[in-house]
């Protein structure tokens, strides 16, 4: 049998002299390559934004008028340092849940809400505490709240679930987050449309289905992609609400 006299690597023995340089080069290149590859992938990712839970604000308790779009909103009448009167808050529950069952009985009434705030730029959301600690009827006169129609618009941007976008997840938007976003939307967490450019000064619009319905299931397939769509826009306080026409949804190239 022909004998092979070349160097032979055995893991538990000292490396053969002839292979040491090669092994050292492989080790260095392997570690450097992994680090470089990881850095390249990291750099290629989109900026997750500055959205976050504002635990530093502490528990927020404010009073206002409850509205249903059908996603629940609070038009704040008595605010505080972080949530001024006149502001419109989007309301959500813990995890991937909504607060509609608690908000529906209070529609059009004065209510006190309490919870933790999520904030991303001008987008604010309040994650309510459980039960009546989160939302309960308040005493006082109800101030009539104006809803201003802004007409029909054609917009480009991305449909997101409002809670993750506002800071519950990082990233809270984009394809990597699509499954999470759709689970939130199935839980009727308020969805938000991020417009490519501000609409009447606002980059974020609460998005609903047509005629006061929830976001239609058809729209779930377009979540996290850059799309164009049409719909009626209305202003509720400092929040814009987009009533989507689902037939106009198109994925942008």
């Amino acid at each position: 049998m022909k004998q092979n006299r070349g160097p032979f690597f055995v893991g538990y023995l000292p490396a053969p002299e002839a292979l040491r340089g090669f092994l050292l080069a492989v080790c260095v290149l392997f570690v450097a390559g992994l680090a470089g590859f990881g850095l390249a992938i990291g750099v290629a990712q989109d900026d997750p934004g500055d959205g976050a839970f504002r635990f530093d604000y502490g528990r927020q308790t404010v009073t206002g008028v409850v509205e249903l779009t059908p996603y629940p909103l609070l038009r704040v009448t008595e605010g505080n340092e972080h949530i001024p009167a006149g502001h419109t808050l989007i309301l959500a529950g813990t995890g991937k849940t909504n607060v509609e069952s608690r908000a529906i009985p209070l529609e059009g009434q004065l209510a006190q809400v309490s919870g933790v705030m999520l904030q991303r730029g001008a987008l604010d959301m309040l994650q309510l505490r459980g039960g009546r600690n989160g939302i309960s009827a308040a005493e006082g006169a109800v101030t009539p709240m104006e809803t201003v129609s802004l007409g029909r618009w054609k917009l480009a941007g991305e449909i997101c679930d409002g809670k993750c976008l506002a800071g519950a997840m990082r990233p809270g938007r984009g394809l990597a987050h699509k499954a999470c976003a759709n689970l939130c939307l199935l839980g009727k967490v308020p969805p938000v449309f991020v417009s490519s450019q501000p609409v009447e000064g606002s980059e974020f619009l609460l998005i609903t289905g047509p005629d006061g319905t929830h976001l239609p299931e058809k729209a779930y397939h377009y979540v996290a992609q850059f799309v164009s769509l049409e719909g009626e826009v209305e202003r509720r306080g400092d929040l814009l609400v987009l009533r989507l026409d689902p037939e106009t949804l198109e994925v942008l190239q």
Binding site: F37, I41, A44, P144, M145, E146, T147, V148, S149, L150, G151, R152, W153, K154, L155, A156, G157, L175, S195, S196, Q197, P198, V199, H221, Q225, F226, S228, E230, E232, V251, L252, Q253
Partner: protein, 125 residues
């Protein structure tokens, strides 16, 4: 049918075929090709999940044993011969998949301005 439904349907079909093959192999085939497995049943359900996934390989190995084409030494040849190529195809393929994914990403439509299609219709309270 959208992409998610197509993927789910494909997985269901693959798993259903795997379930039939698992039932046949674990009740009939195993006794025919493995003497050591005869009269031993408790461990067989543990194999069901893996057969659901790799049932084509199970069928192929079953055929080799049944037909007498199985030679134990040859079984180790193909993996050895393929090591060099697989060793390159795997990392290059991963890089290509990532690069393809990155190159196919949509671009944020920053230049697309909102367009008002119609004037406001009403003011309500």
């Amino acid at each position: 049918m959208n992409q998610a439904e197509a993927i789910l349907l494909g997985l269901r079909i693959w798993g259903s075929i795997g379930a039939v093959i698992a039932a046949m192999f674990l009740t009939i085939g195993m006794d025919r090709i493995d003497d050591d497995a005869r009269d031993a049943y408790i461990f067989r359900p543990l194999l069901i999940p893996s057969i659901l996934v790799i049932w084509p390989l199970v069928l192929w190995r079953w055929y080799l044993y049944e037909s007498g084409h199985e030679h134990w030494a040859r079984r180790y040849d193909p993996p050895r011969k393929a090591h060099f190529y697989v060793g390159w195809v795997l990392p290059v393929g991963i890089c290509l998949i990532i690069l393809t994914g990155l190159s196919q990403r949509q671009t944020w439509p920053a230049e697309t301005a909102p367009v008002q299609l119609s004037e406001p219709t009403e003011i309500s309270q």
